[in-house]
C-alpha cells in the first residue's frame, strides 16, 4: 500500500515519537513510569525505536517514480 498521504502521516508520527523520546529522556514526561521523577531512558529508547520504525515505514509507503 503506497501513498503520499500515508508516507507523510508515518513521517509525522516518527517525529512525534522522537519528541516523546526526548521528553522521557530529560524527565519532563512521567506517563506510565514506575517513578514520578527523573529521566526514563528505557521509555526514551522505546520511543526512538518506534520513531525509527515509523520513519522506515514512511519510506516504504512513499510511491516510487520509475
Amino acid at each position: 500500500m503506497k501513498s503520499n498521504s500515508l508516507a507523510v502521516g508515518l513521517g509525522v508520527l516518527g517525529v512525534i515519537f522522537l519528541i516523546i523520546a526526548g521528553l522521557y529522556a530529560i524527565g519532563v514526561l512521567q506517563i506510565a513510569t514506575s517513578t514520578t521523577s527523573g529521566p526514563h531512558i528505557k521509555h526514551a529508547v522505546l520511543f526512538v525505536v518506534l520513531a525509527v520504525a515509523s520513519l522506515v515505514a514512511a519510506n516504504f509507503a512513499r510511491p516510487r517514480t520509475a
Partner: protein, 287 residues
C-alpha cells in the same frame, strides 16, 4: 545460577521460572526482593545475548546491513532484508509490552508457587503447540500427495524458513514474548510455538526465536547494567556468573538447533509439567 540461567534461557522451559523456583527449593540465601536481583538476572541475560550474538555473528552482520539497505531504499529485495524487517516488526510489540508491563507483572507474580503453576501452564502450551503442528503436518502431507511414510526431516521440509514468515505473524510471535514476563512461561517456548503455528520448520522457528530474543535481551541488559554498579553488589562474582551463563547458553543453542532438525517440543512440555507439579508438591510440603 549462571549455569542454570544460561542453560534454561534458550530451552523452552522458562529460565525465570527456574530462577524463582530453584533457589527457594534449595534454600539458597538469594533474596528475590533484593534490589540487585533483577539487575543480576539481567546481567545473566546479557551473557546469553552475547552468546547468541557470537553464534549468529555472520547472520547479524548480514541482517544489520540488510536493515539499512532496505530502510534507505524503501523496498525489500533480498531474504536478509526481509528478515531484518521481520525482526524489527517482531521486536516492537515485545519492547512496548516490556517497557510498560514487565515490572508490574513480575512484581505481581514473583512467587515460587506461582512460577511452579505457570511452569505447568508452559508445559501444556508446548504440548498444545505440537498438537496443532501435528494437525498441520497431516494436512500438508495430504495436500502434497499423501506421503504418510516420509521421515521427520522430510516432513519438516514441507514448512517454511524464517525469512518467509508473514509480517503479521512476526508481530504476533514478537508479542508472544510478553507472556514470558509471567515466571514459568518460557520466552523461547512461546516464540518457537508461535513460529510453528505460523508455519515455520522447528529449526527455523528456533532460529527466529533466538534472533528475535537477542535485541530485546541485549537492550534490556544494557539499560539495567548501571543499576548493578550503583547498588553495591559483588560485580566480579556477577560477571563471572554472566560468563558461565553465556557459555551454557551457547552450548544450549547449538544443541537445540541440532535437536530441532527433527525433534519436537513435547519432551520439554512434559518436563515442565512434571517439574511444575513436583515443585508445587515440594514447596507445599516445605521440604
Amino acid at each position: 545460577m549462571g549455569l542454570l540461567q544460561g542453560a534454561s534461557e534458550l530451552f523452552p522451559v522458562s529460565s525465570l521460572g527456574h530462577a524463582v523456583i530453584v533457589p527457594s527449593l534449595l534454600h539458597w540465601s538469594f533474596k528475590q526482593s533484593d534490589p540487585s536481583f533483577v539487575p543480576f538476572l539481567v546481567l545473566l541475560h546479557l551473557g546469553t545475548a552475547t552468546a547468541l550474538l557470537i553464534l549468529y555473528r555472520d547472520q547479524w552482520v548480514v541482517i544489520i546491513r540488510g536493515f539499512f539497505t532496505a530502510a534507505f531504499r524503501g523496498q525489500i529485495k533480498t531474504d536478509s532484508e526481509r528478515l531484518a524487517m521481520l525482526l524489527l516488526v517482531g521486536t516492537i510489540p515485545a519492547a512496548i509490552l516490556g517497557v510498560f508491563l514487565e515490572s508490574r507483572i513480575k512484581s505481581l507474580f514473583a512467587s515460587p508457587y506461582v512460577a511452579a503453576g505457570f511452569l505447568v501452564v508452559n508445559g501444556a502450551l508446548m504440548l498444545g503447540f505440537e498438537f496443532m503442528r501435528r494437525r498441520a503436518e497431516r494436512v500438508a502431507l495430504t495436500t502434497s500427495g499423501g506421503l504418510t511414510t516420509s521421515g521427520r526431516i522430510e516432513t519438516e521440509e514441507q514448512f517454511a524458513q524464517a525469512e518467509r514468515i508473514s509480517f503479521k505473524a512476526a508481530a504476533l510471535v514478537g508479542a508472544c514474548q510478553a507472556l514470558a514476563f509471567f515466571p514459568g512461561i518460557s520466552r523461547s517456548g512461546v516464540t518457537i510455538g508461535g513460529g510453528l503455528l505460523a508455519g515455520l520448520r522447528h529449526q527455523e522457528a528456533a532460529r527466529f526465536s533466538f534472533l528475535l530474543a537477542t535485541p530485546v535481551i541485549l537492550g534490556a541488559g544494557i539499560l539495567e547494567v548501571p543499576q548493578l554498579f550503583s547498588s553495591g553488589v559483588p560485580v566480579g562474582e556477577y560477571v563471572a556468573a554472566a560468563v558461565l551463563s553465556g557459555i551454557a547458553a551457547y552450548a544450549s543453542a547449538r544443541f537445540l538447533l541440532r535437536y530441532f532438525r527433527s525433534g519436537r517440543l513435547d519432551p520439554y512440555g512434559w518436563y515442565c509439567i512434571a517439574a511444575g507439579l513436583v515443585s508445587l508438591a515440594l514447596l507445599g510440603l516445605n521440604l
